[in-house]
């Protein structure tokens, strides 16, 4: 589903590469934790999948497509097959839960009838039934993140990228968020989650890819967060 083939990324204003010779293959339906300290290249890894950045060297394939051969014109179509969730939720404050989720479908031109059908289903799936008419500022952090996940998943992407989705949420609520992501993963969606949250990584025992200074230093199925930063 996601193949990184000897990928190096150097940002133009920096001498040190953000990623260096990264080889990672994520297959369909996998759940992968991407761990590592700040600045280790986790965000760059996610941005490369979305083609928000181009690799300096190496090739990337996402959903069977060679990103280097993807024209700018086709990038939106790539992004429709990838859902994204962020630490800061990125909801539209002047729209209700329902409208926030529907927005993702409206802007890709889905018919109104389809939107009316699928939006409530996804809101139920993330556990927000009965809250579809709330505004984001009336919701807790965990609930806001559920809205963001619903928006990312409503178009049934093949891949869900999550960049520190539990970063702004207390541990108890984080477990709930992880259960939602797990439920999405069980529908066959590939999930890649960048995180600092050792407790969650250790609890879920999924595949762990650890980055350090732009290199993959560990790739372990059913792994833990790691000795150097974990435990505490």
């Amino acid at each position: 589903m996601i193949h990184f083939d000897n990928v190096t990324k150097v940002y133009s204003h920096q001498s040190r590469p953000a990623l260096q010779g990264v080889n990672v293959a994520v297959e369909k339906g996998e759940f992968v934790f991407l761990v590592g300290p700040s600045g280790s290249g986790k965000s760059t890894f996610l941005r490369l999948i979305l083609k928000e950045e181009r690799p300096t060297q190496g090739g990337i394939h996402v959903a069977g497509k060679d990103l280097s051969k993807l024209t700018n014109w086709k990038i939106p179509h790539l992004r429709r097959r990838i859902g994204c969730v962020f630490q800061d939720f990125r909801l539209l404050p002047n729209k209700t839960v329902n409208e926030n989720v529907a927005f993702a479908l409206e802007v890709i031109g889905k018919p109104r009838r389809f939107i009316r059908k699928v939006v409530p289903e996804v809101i139920d799936l993330v556990g927000l039934e009965g809250k579809s008419h709330r505004m984001p500022d009336e919701l807790s952090g965990g609930e806001q993140q559920r809205v963001a996940i619903a928006r990312a998943f409503v178009n049934r992407p093949m891949v869900l990228l999550a960049d520190e989705p539990t970063g702004n949420i207390d541990p108890a609520t984080s477990i709930g968020i992880m259960k939602v992501l797990d439920r999405i993963n069980r529908t066959g969606t590939t999930v890649v989650m960048a995180t600092h949250d050792a407790a969650i990584v250790d609890a879920f025992r999924k595949r762990v890819v650890e980055l350090e200074d732009g290199r993959v230093v560990r790739d372990q199925s059913r792994g833990v967060y790691g000795q150097a930063y974990g435990g505490v």
């Binding site: 990038i75 992004r79 994204c84 993702a104 802007v107 031109g109 928006r151």
Partner: protein
């Protein structure tokens, strides 16, 4: 769905920068109105020029009792002298046609021409305008030779080259036209800068929305269209105001000009509407294009 969504986004954009939108509308309106006025003046000049170029004549007024020219000695030339002058004119290679106009005919024509100002036409008398020859030239620009030969000839009071008089008016109109065009050009530059600024603000105000749109894979057209249409609509509203201003321009500027300067041709409303449509299209395209080019800088795809 699509149309409703786009319209909603445009409305939000325009409302959020209301002051910038107003400034933009006013600038576009003034630019287009001045531009249109320039074009109208040019059309007026061209049309009148065409009309007059085959009608301008060199008029040779003969002496009569009221002539101020001392060489006339306050006496009309004899029929023999008149015939001589006419023969001489007809012999000139530049001359296409010569018509004699008697005092009586000239009087009739003047009455007819000034019939709208009764106070003036009533005071005209037979003999105020002397006998004359109206000389039509083959090429209106070659009046010099005719003027030179007739000026000061026995029995000739005055030689009036109508073209020289008309050219003065056309020069004034031409000057007005250029002034309007230059100010319009400056306003167009201001309008482009204002569009750029408005769209930049708009893109900044809506960066959350556009960020999410990008993320969920909205097409570039979908992301950019509301902004481009926002510019185009501001241009259109400006254009509507410009249309009203051009209407005033037609009634008050050209209308008065026609009354006062006795233009033979007047621009009809059809011409004015053409100019209005053209000015509006120009305004809309200008704003849309300026928005689009601005977006390329401020809206990452």
């Amino acid at each position: 769905m699509r149309a409703q969504f786009v319209l909603q986004e445009i409305w939000i954009g325009l409302r959020r920068n209301l002051t910038m939108t107003i400034a933009l509308v006013v600038t576009v309106a003034i630019a287009m109105a001045l531009f249109g006025t320039g074009v109208l003046l040019k059309m007026q000049v061209d049309k009148s020029n065409n009309y007059w170029s085959d009608k301008v004549e060199v008029s040779i007024y003969l002496c009569n009792k009221m002539s101020a020219n001392p060489s006339c000695h306050k006496a009309e030339p004899t029929q023999g002298e008149k015939d001589q002058i006419e023969a001489q004119l007809k012999a000139m290679p530049q001359v296409a046609d010569v018509t004699a106009e008697t005092q009586q005919q000239a009087f009739q024509r003047a009455r007819e021409r000034f019939k709208d100002t009764p106070g003036f036409s009533d005071t005209i008398q037979v003999g105020d305008i002397p006998d004359s020859f109206r000389v039509k030239l083959k090429n209106p620009k070659e009046y010099q030779a005719v003027v030179a030969q007739m000026q000061g000839r026995q029995g000739v009071d005055q030689v009036i080259n109508e073209r020289a008089i008309l050219e003065k008016f056309f020069k004034i109109l031409g000057g007005l036209q250029w002034a309007a065009m230059i100010i319009a050009a400056i306003q167009v530059v201001a309008a482009v800068l204002l569009v750029a600024n408005t769209i930049r603000l708009s893109a900044f105000n809506r960066r959350r929305e556009t960020g999410i749109m990008r993320l969920v894979g909205a097409s570039n057209l979908y992301i950019q269209l509301p902004f481009v249409l926002e510019g185009a609509i501001a241009g259109l509203i400006g254009g509507i105001f410009a249309a009203v201003l051009l209407g005033f321009s037609k009634v008050f500027l050209l209308g008065r000009l026609q009354q006062n300067l006795q233009f033979a041709t007047s621009l009809g409303w059809l011409d004015v509407i053409q100019v209005i449509v053209f000015a509006m299209c120009f305004g809309v395209v200008l704003c849309a294009l300026a928005s689009f080019l601005t977006l390329r800088r401020y809206l990452k795809i």
